[in-house]
């Protein structure tokens, strides 16, 4: 396959091979396909594409965070409630720990509104510090309004208010999604909410992100303005059917995207089909991690990677079980000192709150929370509502592997 390459020699006689366009008469798309495939194979570590039965995946369906609104799964009731709130102009705070799907929920609503006449959604990521120029510029950009780069922060704020009011007068309902509001200072939060005061009859939809331990902090920050809060949606994780839906949508999306058969539609997954996973296998993943979309996706990503590497025909219960066991063992062996102490504490004391761990280990609450979040992301511990608030416990898999590590 040298016809689509050229070999150049530089002054130092090193051989340099570059990929050029195909010569006239050469079926360029063939070479391009091959080159793209090999490039993708290299990038993916050689395990992809993964062909299994009637399905083919060009890459891991669980690697990307959230490439398409159609992959929204699991929070149907919450999405409907958010829709009602938007229609009724009710300010909504969406809360929940990291990875529960707050941003995905709001981005899905954003995508829906973007497609509905009479609505103009705006998505703003709140940055650290006061209501900044950058944030005002971002809102104006999203509203397709001109931005005066030299304007002061106060002028930009007025421009935002004017733009929103103009839209209201034109019958356009603007919905502003503020993501990661926890980053904002008290001043930022007030200023965001004061936009409502300055733009009559218009209410933004707000999104508050925060881990469980941050929730109190958030409530304390906004309490003086709590009369402006209409509703709070708390995301607590997906049930099994939500997880099944998430996996199904990912598999179908990426299988279809691989456009691999003669018709180019590539996917033979039916509604609810999980191939190459068995339902039991997905349920085991759901059982083992805190059932947040991010955690489920990450765990499925690991399992799918192993399945592609092994060229499995089926990703069944036993395969997932073995993969999770190996993974838990590896992760436990590589924990930091504090994380090891936390894991040992939870093993000895059972489900415990972050406060109990902090007191038991006599270390800073901040570091404990950081480590708990990290351990939760790794799927070694699971958070859940307990009698004393959010409690953390070892996952069954972590518990088993810890016990065998201790024995060995």
């Amino acid at each position: 396959m040298t016809s689509n390459c050229s070999v150049d020699r530089d002054d130092t006689a090193n051989t340099v091979t570059t990929l050029n366009s195909a010569p006239a008469g050469y079926p360029a798309e063939m070479a391009d396909d091959l080159i793209s495939d090999v490039k993708r194979e290299l990038e993916s570590g050689g395990n992809w594409p993964y062909e299994v039965g009637e399905h083919r995946f060009a890459g891991n369906p669980f690697a990307e965070k959230w490439p398409d609104p159609r992959l929204f799964a699991g929070y149907e009731d919450e999405l409907r409630r958010l829709r009602e709130n938007v229609q009724r102009n009710v300010n909504t705070f969406i809360t929940g720990p990291f990875g529960t799907g707050k941003t995905i929920l709001t981005k899905t609503m954003y995508a829906i509104l973007d497609d509905v006449e009479g609505y103009e959604p705006v998505f703003v990521s709140v940055q650290k510090g006061r209501f900044s120029k950058a944030m005002a510029k971002r809102i104006l950009d999203e509203l397709d309004e001109p931005v005066d780069a030299s304007a002061s922060q106060a002028d930009l704020y007025d421009d935002v208010a004017d733009a929103l009011e103009d839209r209201y007068e034109d019958g356009v309902r603007t919905v502003v999604f503020y993501d990661e509001v926890i980053n904002g200072s008290d001043g930022t939060l007030r200023q965001i909410l004061h936009l409502q005061r300055d733009v009559e009859n218009w209410e933004p939809v707000l999104v508050f992100n925060g881990t469980a331990h941050m929730l109190d902090q958030i409530h304390a920050k906004i309490e003086p303005l709590s009369d402006r809060i209409g509703d709070e949606l708390t995301l607590a994780g997906m049930d099994v059917e939500g997880a099944i839906d998430l996996v199904n949508k990912r598999l179908r999306y990426y299988c279809a995207e691989s456009e691999w058969n003669d018709e180019g539609d590539g996917c033979a997954h039916g509604e609810g089909a999980l191939d190459p996973f068995t339902r039991e296998a997905v349920e085991l993943v759901h059982q083992d991690v805190t059932p947040y979309p991010r955690h489920i996706r990450r765990e499925c990503n690991e399992v799918m990677e192993e399945a592609a590497k092994a060229g499995r025909d089926t990703v069944d219960f036993e395969f997932v079980r073995a993969t999770l066991a190996e993974e838990a063992s590896r992760k436990l062996e590589n924990l930091s000192e504090l994380s090891t102490d936390i894991v040992t504490f939870l093993d000895g004391n059972g489900p415990s709150t972050a406060n109990a761990v902090t007191e038991g280990l006599d270390v800073s609450a901040y570091h404990v929370q950081e480590s708990l979040t990290e351990l939760e992301k790794e799927g070694l511990i699971r958070a859940g509502e307990g009698a004393r608030g959010i409690e953390y416990r070892l996952t069954e898999q972590a518990s088993r592997e810890l016990s065998s590590l201790q024995q060995s």
Binding site: R279, E280, E283
Partner: protein
């Protein structure tokens, strides 16, 4: 926690038949098995996940136990769901010059074939006595 394997019991008792009986008892009459059986009787055909969630068990434990119950003919799996295949399990322990065991699967009490197992615990007791005696010496 899984029941001891048949091979493990056979090594312990040096008797395949005896190992088989002990294993059956271990599986059929244990607390997790009875809970699972109770669940399947109440809920009908169920997946491993349903059983695990319904009984607050780990899925691995539920699956292991269901497989063991399947191996002794008490449940069956088809297309990802488990069904109880017996309506009744009779285990009778009686005194007959030692322990006598009878057990029946299926629910037809009249068809009891446990007589063949008579003396099973007697044999087991003798073996255990021997082991204890050797340990004392």
């Amino acid at each position: 926690m899984p029941a001891p394997s048949r091979a493990e019991l056979a090594r312990l008792f040096d008797d395949d038949e005896l190992a088989e009986h002990v294993r059956f008892l271990e599986i059929a009459a244990s607390w997790p098995s009875l809970r699972i059986l109770d669940y399947l009787y109440r809920e009908g055909a169920s997946s491993t996940g349903d059983v695990a969630r319904g009984l607050n068990m780990d899925m691995r434990d539920a699956r292991d136990r269901l497989e063991e119950l399947s191996a002794v003919g008490m449940v069956d799996e088809a297309e990802g769901t488990w069904t109880a295949t017996v309506d009744r399990v009779d285990i009778t322990v009686s005194r007959n010059g030692g322990l006598e065991l009878s057990s029946t699967l299926g629910g037809d009490a009249d068809a009891e074939d446990g007589a063949a197992e008579a003396g099973f615990f007697e044999r087991l007791g003798r073996r255990l006595d021997g082991l204890v005696g050797r340990a004392k010496r």
